[in-house]
Amino acid sequence: MVSSNSSETLNDPSVETIDYYKHLSLFWTDIIHLMSSKPQALTSIGPMRAFAANSKKISVELIEINEKLFEFNKYMTEYYNQLSTTWGIAQKKVNLKVPEIPQDVEQIESVKRIWIDIFDNDFTELFDSKKFGDNYGNLVSKELELTKHWNNITNVILQSVNLPSKEEIDEVYKEIHSLKKRVSKLELKLKKEKRKNAE
């Protein structure tokens, strides 16, 4: 069974259940990987061998994506909750200001103006608040973590077919950037000196 030393984890049945299934999934992935890797090595050649060896990494990423999705959904729910609560409050304010259904063009126009002003004010107040900023920051952060796992899976696949990973390409970009910077600074310095000498 899964081992958990944290008392908080022990007291939380939902965490226990997630850990149990995580353990279960990893156990079978490992066992199947170990069982299948040798016959696979015999029967496969070239890049598919590497892919088989990396299958565990992909499984781990997928399990972690599931965990992150849980947290992502929590912040996403709060995001939509904040939007819908603000909408409800703004609509109530509009209803108080406009108790009767408008009948002519001028009335409709002024009701529309009131509606837009109240909604823009209330939503701007929300977007400007700390609670929105905090939740939105967390939501984006979780979305980025999901992207990171997706990148990791892509990297495993790329490496299995002997292509450079995102990190390796980034290293090349960094090197090119550094070289270009040095060259352009030297060029600029040279131009300035030439100009100085010409004067």
Partner: protein, 354 residues
Amino acid sequence: MLSESNVDPKVIEEILKFSKNVIDAPKLVSAPDEINLEVTPHEVVQEIDKTRLLHYKPLVETKYKTPLLISYALINRYHILDIHPEKSWVKNLLEQGFEVYMLDWGTPTSMDKYLDFDDYVNGYLDASVEFIKNQTSTENISLQGYCTGATIATAYTALHPENVKNYVATAPVIDGWKDTTVISNLAKHMDADKMVDIIGNMPPEFMYYCFSVLKPFEQGIEKYIKFFKNIDDKKYVDNFLRVEKWLGDTPPIPGELFKQWIKDIYQKNLLIQNQMYVGDELVNLKNIDMPMFTQVAVGDHLVSPECSMPLHYAVGSEDKILKIYPTGHVGMIASSLSQKKVLPEMGKWLAERS
């Protein structure tokens, strides 16, 4: 039942007219893709990486010796300064007799994710200034920065004061802690390190999100209702579509530059405290000692006046002026007010010093 209704027949008439306008719209107006945003003739005089230095062809005889270089923002593209013949910032300055250059930052790709403030300030902007000095045989130039382009221009002016004869800061992003806009709230809660580490450049989709939270109902609903209501008004429609096309076209921001931007300007607020580094050089705003003109808009919901105005008080210049205009962020540069008031005032100020 219908005959007993109290609804004004004009309401029905308005609804029918509006529906007809929506149906007729594609026959009456061009698709945004078909609109050419290049208004004033210019030539590309220098290209470095993705950046281009544009030189606008004179419309009248050039009256002033000192050329003007405009450092446009990093969000959207430079076209807003030349959006329409009647509202063109560039055209107006050319007609006043100035020689005008514009720095187009281009469209960064994944390969450009390591470009930082140093590359923009001491690389692209400095190379443009040097090119102009060389071409025009002048010792220094007039520099104008708009929005985030003014932050870059401010850092440049502080680091290379000998190259800038006059500095115009239009809605500059300077004091991140004082900024009261929604953008500032989002920026303060952003994990820029994580974002750049995982996705590299700041994607345009994220910029669209940030813009969509600014006056969402006025900008997201009312604006389009007005557009369809005025579909017969050629002038209005042409201007509307030009601005819409400009709004919808924003390049990604290089990752390292974005990271430094969010952390140093909005989160740590280093620039106004003279603690920001560009490359390995400390930016001291007191080094800005040439004549300086700061332009802010009281209704700016992208860069609040509180964020821009501290620059006026932080610099070392003795000859400086701060003007507050009754308009918004875009209204200050592309409106009838900018043509009638903002540009003539700036032109007069520059002319006396050029």
